[in-house]
Amino acid sequence: MAHLPVLVPVAYLLASFLSVLGGLWRDRLGYGIALGGAAAAALVSLWGLLLVLRQGTVHSFLGGWPPPIGIEYVLDPLAAFLASLVSALGVVALVYARPSVAREAPEKALLFYPVALLLLAGLTGIVVTGDLFNLFVFLEIASLAAYALLATGKGLSPLAAFRYLILGTIGGSFYLLAVGFLYFTTGSLNMADVAERLPPLYESRAVLAAAVFTVVGLGLKMALFPLHLWLPDAYTYAPSAVTGLIAPVMTKVMAYALIRILLGVFGLTYGVEVVPLLPVIGWLAMGGVLVGSVMAIAQTDVRRMLAYSSVAQVALVALGVALANPLGLVGGLLHILNHAFMKGCLFLVAGGVYYRAGVWGVAQYAGLGRRMPWTMGAFTLAALAMIGIPPTAGFFSKWYLVLGGIDAGHWPAVGVVLASTLLTAAYFFRVLEGVYTREPVPEVAAVGGSEPPLGMLVPTWVLGGGVLLLGLGNVLIVGRVLEQVARDLVGG
């Protein structure tokens, strides 16, 4: 099967549409199809990863037309790696969503899963495509699904989703403008073809506009500081099943798209020597790490704290890319993986606590350590990983980021990564201190607050265990996948 990479998004599409039809007929059938489809897609993408590692990049020509006439799918190690990550986390989030949606948004259950699958289809489509315009189409599929899912919460949730829709549409449209400028100057839409035709045009002002619009557009989508304004509200008011699905992967896939286009199409020479795009991204990212972390300390709502923390962590990924050397890029890419597991686990814990105790506040987490030992154990593990305590996953990505910073002689970046460790410790210890040393607040004590159902606890611990396993297995991931990828993209 040389056309394997196509199957990942298409499997999601088929499952999603069948799930709508099945769900209209029998409620349970819809969920069953959705979960089965997500599992199948995850298996396919893992298989694809193994295949790619064994025999190199797989190209698939859609419609049988070779590029640049037609659209091509490119499953290279990085794409296969990200597709596996997205689809695996998708399965976890869908398992978790069943009890969570039944509690937080029961009336939405019918269409929740099909739209969630469309989100995953869009994200995997972005990951494997080798065509600039096709990326835009799948970007919008993912975004539309995300707007709707984020709007299913209570209170200000629809408004937060609407603001995200406006800013997200600006981002998508800027990207489309960039594609237009690239198309009219090179005459092609295929990424590899454009990359080949671009070097003689490096001095072109239209190419400069394309680069700037790409960075701003995808920067908006990935919530790169100072374009992150939509993110905290959107994550705070959404149901926890939605944040559990979107927070770990969505902004990361957008970061991947930026890496792909900036390094893969424009090329490192353009981003550093012709126009100092990467250095600018680097300084913005440093601002994002500091501002996001400080804002996280100031929050009283756990979800909001985690959302600001996401802004800081995505900025760390961007910082790794901006260092423009293999070590930094490995750090950034490893952080995509690690942060997906850590932040996913934390959001799932927050949802589990709400399920049993009905609270979101940092202060109300007091005393939960004794009442929900397993849930809070996962929280502690993920929090330690976020800070970067050695055996856990978070340590290694920060380690590579620091090495990359030293390698580039970029001392401010090194300082920012170390500072982010301290700031992250500050906001997590604030929560952990209450969890393990204080008595429960009366409102929590009144409702009891035992462990959430297994359907939520198991996914939480799958991610929690993943944080540990990734820490132990990082040598394997870096050695087998990321080092090669980083060398291909930034040389050295």
């Binding site: 056309h3 298409v10 088929l14 209209l24 859609l62 419609g63 019918l110």
Partner: protein
């Protein structure tokens, strides 16, 4: 909820026009190979004929022409038709959406592509028609 327009002129003209619009829409879908047109344009025109009935007759009286509960399944069926048309060649040794590998023995590749385009245009038309009506109905009614 939309209600029937009080003027008989409006309702009668709408009932006369709707089938004509739908007929023209079918022409636009089918003639997309030779003139501007195709699935999207035709689908939107089909939706226009339905929405004209909805606006003039109200939801209840126009339901026999297009039941509201049909819209979403139709949209999904349309896109499913497209997706499955793409999957079939995959099992016959071609790429995804490679119409030249559609299972029709003896037909030359250009003819297969010609008909492949028609099949997906029909799928697109169904999807667009269903979507437009589904969104309109929900906005007009204001609930899922």
């Amino acid at each position: 909820m939309l209600t029937r327009h009080p003027s008989p002129v409006v309702t009668t003209v709408a009932r006369l026009l709707a089938p004509l619009i739908a007929l023209f829409a079918l022409y636009v879908v089918a003639h997309g190979h030779y003139s501007p047109g195709g699935g999207f344009q035709g689908g939107v025109l089909l939706a226009a004929s339905t929405l004209l009935l909805r606006l003039a007759l109200g939801e209840k009286d126009s339901a026999p022409a297009f039941p509201p509960s049909l819209a979403l399944p139709m949209a999904v069926t349309g896109v499913l038709l497209y997706t499955v048309t793409g999957v079939v060649p995959l099992f016959l040794g071609g790429g995804y959406l490679d119409y030249a590998r559609l299972p029709w023995p003896g037909a030359p590749a250009p003819l297969l592509r010609y008909f492949g385009i028609l099949v997906v245009e029909v799928g697109v038309a169904l999807a667009v028609w269903g979507t437009m009506v589904a969104i309109f109905d929900r906005l007009a009614r204001g609930e899922g």
